[in-house]
């Protein structure tokens, strides 16, 4: 199970994922530069957080044209796992591997802080290590994280149980107060129709060591390692 982390010039959570996978979980992991076309045989591709090309235009709008993205799309088409975190999620919606879009937060301000997520579906390679309905705590850090999709798309996501994480409070209750950015249906993370491409705004890689506030993110990467 090799993890490959795509590095765009403005990625800034690439090293955090790398450190967690390597040191907290002991998994083989390497960096993949955005201008290369080869995924070097990696089994799981991670698109990390950051500001891929500054994102002055629209988050992820330029990153989708990076040479490596053709290989990432092909990897996904073959049914092999791809996970986009924060900016990575934005890139995945821009390139069309995931539906919808991430708009500016309802507050029109950058928002950072721990949030609670309810795990909605554990029958995926990304969530099999969690319990159904489990509430986990991970931080968000984004200015454009408000998930939007047309009603028919949202209905489809719900019918197919493709919403994997929803913002909630500590007890797992869904409410507007517990939604940090105004995401429709309180969506924090979702998966593609074939169940192999996942995007989420919160940062599980920042919760892989109790020294740093918690380890609720570990199970996500452990699920992936087991799936492969």
């Amino acid at each position: 199970m090799n993890f490959g982390i795509v590095v765009f010039p403005g990625s800034n959570c690439d090293y955090d994922v790398y450190w967690g996978l390597k040191n907290d979980l002991g998994y083989p992991v390497r960096f993949l530069w955005h201008r290369q076309r080869d995924l070097e045989g990696c089994d799981v591709i991670v698109l990390p957080g950051g500001f891929a090309h500054g994102d002055y235009l629209r988050a992820g709008a330029i990153a989708r044209f990076s040479p490596i993205m053709e290989a990432v799309v092909e990897h996904a088409r073959q049914g092999r796992p791809v996970i986009g975190i924060c900016n990575g999620f934005q890139v995945l919606t821009e390139i069309g591997l995931l539906p919808g879009a991430l708009l500016r937060n309802e507050s029109l301000r950058f928002a950072h802080g721990p949030v609670y997520l309810r795990v909605e579906n554990v029958q995926t390679p990304f969530t099999s290590g969690y319990q159904p309905g489990q509430v986990i705590q991970v931080p968000i850090a984004h200015g454009q994280g408000r998930y939007y999709a047309p009603p028919e798309v949202l209905a489809g996501l719900e019918d197919e149980q493709r919403v994997l994480f929803r913002y909630c409070d500590a007890s797992g209750r869904i409410s507007p107060e517990a939604n940090p950015n105004g995401s429709l249906h309180h969506i924090a993370g979702l998966v593609s129709a074939n169940g192999r491409v996942m995007g989420m705004m919160p940062h599980p890689e920042r919760r892989m060591n109790s020294r740093l506030g918690g380890s609720d993110g570990l199970a996500l990467f452990q699920s992936l390692a087991q799936a492969a």
């Binding site: 010039p9 403005g10 800034n12 959570c13 090293y15 955090d16 450190w19 967690g20 957080g49 950051g50 500001f51 090309h53 500054g54 994102d55 002055y56 301000r109 950058f110 928002a111 950072h112 802080g113 931080p139 850090a141 200015g143 500590a170 940062h203 890689e205 920042r206 892989m208 060591n209 020294r211 740093l212 506030g213």
Partner: protein, 747 residues
């Protein structure tokens, strides 16, 4: 392009040089300077670049400690050894004047500038901090400034991927037109990979890389060396525009260049752009340098030599590369898609020569430009303002009258100087890079140094009211508070950086505050053995109507050998004992209580016994290392009552009450609850360890008392306060958002 104007004394005066300085320039050159040369000297001899009015005093500060690798003034930032083959580069800098006219870009470029100082040393930045001071928030202009500054600090650091982990936000009338915006950066470097800002070795190549050079920011350094006035608005073009993505590329490329071994030296371009970087590098290497401005990548056509030399366009670097290794260095810059150009080379003639369109427009000795070289040094007149004696002698007894102490505490908790600053810190990414063990909201932030078991504690502190009433003691109190905050995480204070924000140095009564504050800071730093490894002076923080409170901000660095041996600042468990280290005295002078309830800034700053302070901090560090305490929090603005309230409230989801018996002795209730006596720390201690903590304190001669117990959903302070935590939380957490929500609703 307009022809250059003839250089005359009048033109020199317009550039901010004095008649004496202009004469000195004529003597150095032995001829009339060119227009470009006049520009170069005026900016290099501005206070901002050469510290001409402050350096004589700064030199009295302790600069060397057992861990110092690079002392203040030697490089872009000081460097401190933390063991394991690693060192920490850290520094704080002001961006007050730009923020007064363009808060967003002013603050953003403030972060960008201080980050470059750190990675220019070869260090990877791991944390950002700020110290912000604004006018009261009931004024729309002040809210506009604060909103812009917070967005600017946040957006830049968030995009760059450096966590903003700690800071302070303070409000007072004096900061209304002249906000104080200080940014601090902390970086880690392997001691075998430290870079230097030096040009040496004849024939080595000078390369500029990063953003193009435009007309923005010309004379920013000179602008920063004047008072704020109505004309300042017209100088908005002196404010640069930041591009954090370009900075990110610059950061990664620079660290790769340093690692590659192709560099002789590297320097960032901040104030005075190409002029400052090239002349400082040459002066440091006792070498010469020749550069051709036609090779500088420009943002627009038609720029004059003067403009190119003085542009403060952001995100640019100057490197000296070993001859023969240029292509290797350029390949790294290409990989990061950075623009670069070979501008010239190092010479051995001790001159800085600048070519433009085939002509030599500048030929000056770099040594004469630089701080520590030929730059002027002035000993300014200092005179104690008569009003200080009046303030210090003020009778504070009318303010000790009895009142409803529940209401008094609730109001204090909602005061902008005391209340929760989450509205600010939620706009900052404080956990990117996954080093943050403790972020905003504690006494100091704590950052794990990956690949070791050690951690760094960092904080910024200053109580400007104390400095205003007693500059010498006030500055010492700022150092003491910073050290106390660091010690409350378990870390040992090891060094400071300072940002000295004061008024016009040419006014003796204004300069008095600066001179006295530096003296007090020196005394405290010697006591704590925390050398000053660098910093920044910002004068002229005044306008026609108002002047800031004197604000010497202390950025302190602490080292914790075992990252697991730390505690938080708030209560953790019901049943724990509440232990107070230190003594509360009748010291309401300069307190938040006087200011908030009576609008009075008077009295004297609290007494400070440096030796007792040091021992108190030893007690808290040893108690934490021994595993005897579960939380430690210092008493600062708002005194004991506010500090205890914070211990209860700081975990917003799980507030924990306490019942505390206070022994008033001779103290009035106002003093007992709200005096801001120094050297006090609140500990929460598991009952089984209470005896050990009290014994340790006794052994060190530190007063300590077991005041009561943690638990319940109320805070009870003797006969004076009995409050429901939910009510306190409402006051504490809603105060700041309310100022901004009300505005949003009105719009």
């Amino acid at each position: 392009m307009k022809p250059d104007p003839p250089v005359t004394l009048d033109l020199a005066l317009q550039h901010g040089l004095s008649e004496e300085e202009y004469q000195r320039l004529l003597d150095i050159l032995g001829r009339t300077p060119t227009y470009a040369e006049l520009g170069v000297f005026s900016v290099m001899w501005s206070e901002h670049c050469c510290y001409k009015n402050s350096i004589a005093h700064l030199k009295t500060l302790p600069r060397k400690g057992p861990r110092t690798l690079v002392e203040a003034g030697e490089e872009n930032a000081g460097l401190v050894d933390i063991g394991h083959g690693l060192a920490v580069a850290f520094k704080i800098e002001s961006h007050n004047h730009p923020c007064a006219v363009e808060p967003y870009q002013g603050a953003a470029t403030g972060v960008g500038g201080i980050m470059r100082d750190i990675f220019t040393m070869g260090a990877r930045p791991i944390a950002s901090l700020d110290s912000l001071h604004f006018g009261p928030l009931d004024n729309a202009r002040h809210r506009f400034l604060m909103d812009g500054v917070v967005r600017g600090v946040g957006d830049y650091g968030n995009c760059l991927g450096i966590p903003t982990v700690a800071g302070e936000t303070y409000f007072h009338e004096g900061y209304g037109t002249n906000p104080i915006v200080n940014c601090m950066a902390v970086g880690v470097v392997r001691t075998d990979r430290i870079a230097s800002a030096i040009a040496e070795g004849e024939g080595n190549t000078v390369i500029i890389y990063g953003s193009r050079t435009g007309r923005d920011g010309i004379h920013g350094a000179t602008f920063a060396s004047e008072e704020i006035s109505e004309e300042s608005e017209a100088k908005r073009s002196s404010v640069q525009v930041g591009d954090p993505f370009a900075e990110k590329l610059l950061l990664e490329a620079t660290l790769e260049l340093v690692k590659s071994g192709t560099l002789v030296g590297v320097q960032d371009m901040g104030a005075a752009g190409i002029t400052c970087s090239s002349s400082e590098m040459a002066a440091k290497g006792k070498a010469g340098i020749i550069i051709d401005l036609d090779k500088v990548p420009l943002r627009e056509a038609g720029m004059s030599a003067y403009e190119i030399l003085l542009s403060e366009s952001q995100e640019r670097m100057l490197a000296v590369v070993h001859r023969g290794r240029e292509e290797e260095a350029e390949a790294i810059l290409d990989r990061w898609e950075l623009l670069h150009s070979r501008l010239g080379h190092v010479t051995n003639d001790g001159r800085m020569r600048v070519l433009f369109q085939g002509r030599e427009v500048c030929d000056v000795p770099p040594f004469e430009l630089a701080l520590g070289g030929g730059a002027p040094v002035y000993h300014r007149e200092s005179r104690r303002p008569a009003k200080l004696d009046e303030y210090n002698a003020a009778d504070l007894s009318p303010y000790r009258a009895d009142r409803d102490w529940n209401v008094a505490l609730l109001e204090m908790l909602a005061s902008p100087n005391v209340c929760d600053k989450g509205w600010v810190t939620r706009q900052y990414d404080s956990t990117v890079r996954t080093n943050t063990v403790q972020g905003p909201g504690g006494d100091a932030a704590l950052l794990w140094v990956k690949e070791t078991d050690t951690a760094l504690a960092v904080t910024t502190d200053c109580n400007p009211r104390f400095v205003y009433l007693n500059p010498r003691r006030g500055a010492a109190l700022a150092v003491a508070e910073a050290a106390r905050n660091v010690s409350c995480t378990g870390a040992q204070p090891i060094a400071i950086t300072n940002c000295l924000n004061f008024g016009n140095p040419y006014k003796p009564e204004s300069f008095y505050f600066f001179a006295e504050a530096v003296a007090g800071m020196g005394e405290a730093c010697r006591a704590f053995d925390t050398p000053v490894t660098g910093g920044n002076v910002s004068f002229y923080n005044e306008s026609e109507e108002t002047s800031i409170l004197p604000t010497p901000v202390i950025g302190m660095l602490g080292l914790l050998e075992d990252v697991t041996k730390t505690v938080r600042s708030h209560f953790q468990q019901a049943g724990d004992r509440v232990v107070l280290l230190g003594t509360t005295k009748p010291e309401l002078g300069g307190s938040e209580y006087l200011w908030h309830h009576y609008g009075v800034l008077a009295g004297d700053a609290p007494a400070l016994d440096l030796d007792l302070e040091k021992r108190t901090q030893e007690v808290v560090r040893q108690a934490i290392a021994g595993g005897w305490v579960r939380s430690a929090h210092d008493c600062a603005e708002g005194g004991l009552a506010v500090a205890l309230a914070e211990c209860c409230l700081r975990d917003r989801e799980r507030p924990l009450g306490a019942t505390v018996a206070l022994e008033p002795g001779d103290l009035a209730a106002a003093d007992l609850l709200f005096a801001e006596s120094a050297s006090r720390i609140i500990l929460s201690v598991p009952p089984e360890h209470a005896a050990e903590v009290l014994q340790l304190a006794a052994l060190k001669g530190v007063p300590a008392a077991d005041l009561g117990a943690v638990g319940g959903d109320r805070l009870v302070l003797g006969a004076w306060v009995d409050l429901d935590l939910a009510r306190m939380a409402e006051a504490y957490y809603n105060a700041l958002p309310a100022y901004f929500q009300a505005v949003a609703a009105a719009e």
